[in-house]
Symmetry: C3
Subunit: 162 residues, 3 copies
Amino acid sequence: MEQERLEAIRQVKYRYLRCVDTKLWDEIGDTFTEDATVDYGTKAYGKPLKMTGRDEIVEFFRTNLGPDILTVHAAGQPEITVEPGGETASGIWSFQDTVIATQFRVAVVGAAFYHDRYRLESDGRWRISHTGYRRTYEAMMSLDDLPSFKLIATLDADAAAS
Amino acid sequence: MEQERLEAIRQVKYRYLRCVDTKLWDEIGDTFTEDATVDYGTKAYGKPLKMTGRDEIVEFFRTNLGPDILTVHAAGQPEITVEPGGETASGIWSFQDTVIATQFRVAVVGAAFYHDRYRLESDGRWRISHTGYRRTYEAMMSLDDLPSFKLIATLDADAAAS
Amino acid sequence: MEQERLEAIRQVKYRYLRCVDTKLWDEIGDTFTEDATVDYGTKAYGKPLKMTGRDEIVEFFRTNLGPDILTVHAAGQPEITVEPGGETASGIWSFQDTVIATQFRVAVVGAAFYHDRYRLESDGRWRISHTGYRRTYEAMMSLDDLPSFKLIATLDADAAAS
């Protein structure tokens, strides 16, 4: 029972991460509770990113992660604690991300630990009610420093979604 | 029961990935069904890599991933669905790879999502019946862009196998 | 039962890795048995790192991983075997690490497979009794090769610990 619950919570996180990197904006909203909050803490945008509500979160992704922005968000090492009552949980995840802004030839790489909260909703599904992270490091560089760097494959969003 | 099944499927994938990176070509065949198909979709070889049958797959690894090719194939975030009947399953995995061709001083890095199929065989073991991925990105570069880059350890295949 | 045991073993490894990267030296000792041994096998220090006993291990971390050393230790793909009797276990993990020595503008990146041993102690908790790895590769480079490389976030140890 406990293992099933942990697995269900991991699954919503995995789906969230896959939706981000394959740009499934119509599907990603369902991984969040309607009142979800996020605090991404990245400095790449010049300020911390705090958002409230599923709609604002999805709109952020749709606006900022267009086809020229390739992303990898990889999380593992889940330390999940289901709280008394069995309907809320918290989770810590190790995380590494790579963002390639192809038009600007800029790459951002980094690592962090996610500190999430999850809620079991009335339809029997766990969703993310809060997600945020604290950076281990984040670095930015121009691909002009690597003259031979050449993208030989990029996301085919239609193929990824099918 | 369900959790045991998921764990058994994850284990065959982990073994496959470890066999690739530590070059255990005598052992890797057992992670595939005899009729397994692969579709690696990498462009690094100039064309998609499609293969059929355990023997062809193992021969590909043995021929192409010699001691001068260092590889890291890291997969996580498994979204596995066991199908009705309990003897076949599908799985999606997040994936990142690094390949260093030491003789040519070339590095290939990338990310993808694996879309696998698994089958429970009559000896009670799950094997990979199909594996393939869709790229998030793949990039190639010459290590000549990083004059200070120096390998300070490489795979000792004998030690890795022991 | 078996799944609970595997999960408990994974949890101590995840906590160990998080303690390393967020520099929780007061907490990391509890992830090791008092007689634990380590054999990190990295060449970055010029020689293999072998240590015996929780105190020596914790002291090594405290001395060598100060605030100017940013680290990412990411492990996954756990292949854990609980031994007959149920009180000891072995585990193989895929592993990638990044170390940025900010003062020296040096980065070390690599991959390995951990070969660990675990023991269930009388307080009912699993701890690491041995950890070591065999390198797939390890490389060192100066960040001077990447003039545009700029750290835009670094670990805030106090925040990470809270």
